[in-house]
Amino acid sequence: MDFLFIIQQTLSATLGVNAIIFALAAIGLNMHFGYTGLLNFGQAGFLAIGAYSVAVPVISFNISLWVAFLIGIFNSIIFALLLGLPTLRLRADYLAIVTIAAAEIVRQIARSATFRDFLGGSDGITGKFASEFFDLNPFKQGLTTPILRFSGNDLWVVITGWILVALITFVMWVMVNSPWGRVMRAIREDEDAVRSLGKNVYLYKMQSLIIGGVIGSIAGFVYALSRQSVQPDNYGTALTFFAYTVLILGGAARVFAPIIGAMIFWFLIVFIEQVLREGVTSDVIPDWLIGVNQVGQIRFMLMGLGLMLLMIFRPQGIFGDKKELALDAKA
């Protein structure tokens, strides 16, 4: 077994593009679910809107990528308003139902034959829409060390991506520790009590939905840029649930939870996969037990097992406070 290769692959994934995408998606969910108590099960929809909003304007309308970013943010605000206007006055469960459906609607529209000319149907969009971004890359030769390895493009996405994550996390930290954040956490606890103190709860919930959604669409930007393509089926419900996994791993309502959660998530997935793959190819794991083609499925099984154990022994996540979690029982 090539241990160095396993370490290199695992560390590169821990700090890699996917960790950035999931960290951003989970930061958005942390705003929604962790701080405001909004059950948004449609975060994938926000990512899809972000991803298509950078690809479509550049490819079909020849608009600058930088303008496309603004279009993406604008579109995700519209999507948040569409979701929130009818549902935020209702109980939390309704938002969950509407968001999961809305995200699927976005994906189905994106892959539909009707809009094939613009959105590329089920094949999605592949093209040079990200060149303006990669033209700025000063590290075109990439990074190759025994323990870390990124291609030139990936290195540029990773550097700008983590800077973006740090900036957004800092702003989040300031916001949730402000009186505004206090209102948000209070809404999570009991909205009627917050109303009785003269706060416009509906407005605050809408702000939360928009802010978390915009951060989700930024995750979509990174998703699209890093692959230089947009595939509709990448934005299914699984993406949302992985983002929730990342958030819960780190500990909901903790500012750094999404970052650490995303790193752990990708560390585990890639580590398990690489160990299994190396084990199978070097015959340490016998063929009758696991075949090469089964590695992909088995890593998710083991991942699931690990998550179950985490929820049993550390339900509050990495950063969470168990005492605080117990209070949720509303004694």
Partner: protein
């Protein structure tokens, strides 16, 4: 400012009949009905609440007291009727605006915000906070001094309510009675003109009860109006200037505590018309 002493003054000159007019009403409700399916939960023809008084709203279970409370504070909408606070019509006004107008309520099932600390619960109550705007929240120097001033005020109220040692504990860590105190203290942070307390004494131990009573009297001394729903008759007797009795959604009696509790209709509503009939004689 003219010192408006307890409601006793107005109580002497006000006729003790349901819907009687008060010399200086802060809250006036007219022809309010609320139906749940076929059931009429509230059917209040006319009621006025005297400014600066402590008024108790009593009645047997299911009389519609809490529903009436919810209607007045915007948490529920009536099928018909109008009501006004300080001359301002409140039809269709959402709860948060009702609170901003100066009418702040508490809840029968206490709504302490559990995973906020006691201090955070208090700070949340203050009005017109700059840092509660989404854009300004990002610039702490805009709201820091206001936050400090609010904290000073919260500290003094917490001291008064003997909750100051608990200020850094989660609200969930308080006892049931302390949560009632916290909820009331938090309502005061809004600087209300009128406080609506829904069963402030439920589940509160006798020692805390006395201090709650004092706090309610203090509110009146500060010129605030208090309307409260309560089942504890001793408390009603001790602190209220005026008592309004509801049964089956209607107001059946109004008056001073002494008069109301001697009223036959009230006794019947609570205990049933035949409460003194010997049960054994019915079977004969």
């Amino acid at each position: 400012m003219q010192k408006r002493n307890s409601g006793a003054d107005f109580a002497l000159t006000t006729s003790q009949i349901p819907g009687s007019s008060k010399p200086d009403p802060i809250l006036i409700a007219d022809k309010i009905t609320r139906q749940f399916g076929g059931l009429t939960a509230v059917n209040v023809n006319h009621v006025e609440i005297q400014r600066g008084s402590i008024t108790a709203l009593i009645g047997p279970n299911g009389a519609g007291k809490t529903t009436f409370f919810n209607l007045l504070t915007g948490y529920d909408s009536p099928n018909s009727g109008t009501w006004s606070f300080n001359g301002m019509a409140l039809n269709g006004v959402p709860p948060y605006k009702v609170a901003r107008l100066g009418m702040v309520r508490t809840f029968q099932l206490t709504k302490a915000l559990y995973r906020l600390t006691v201090m955070e619960n208090m700070l949340l109550g203050a009005r017109a906070q700059k840092g509660e705007s989404v854009l300004r929240s990002v610039f702490p120097w805009i709201w820091r001094s206001q936050e400090a001033a609010i904290r000073v005020k919260a500290t003094s109220i917490l001291k008064n309510f003997k909750l100051i040692e608990k200020q850094d504990d989660f609200a969930a860590a308080l006892s049931g009675g302390q949560r009632k105190l916290l909820e009331m203290a938090r309502a005061l942070m809004v600087e209300p003109e009128m406080v609506m307390l829904d069963e402030p004494m439920a589940g509160v131990n006798p020692a805390l009860k006395q201090s709650l009573l004092e706090h309610i009297k203090e509110l009146r001394n500060e010129g605030k109006t208090v309307l409260f729903v309560e089942h504890d008759m001793d408390m009603v007797h001790e602190i209220s200037d005026w008592v309004i009795v509801m049964a089956q959604g209607e107001i059946i009696a109004e008056g001073t505590p002494a008069t109301v509790m001697g009223n036959n209709q009230v006794i019947e509503a609570y205990l049933g018309a035949h409460h003194d009939t010997d049960l054994t004689s019915e079977g004969a």
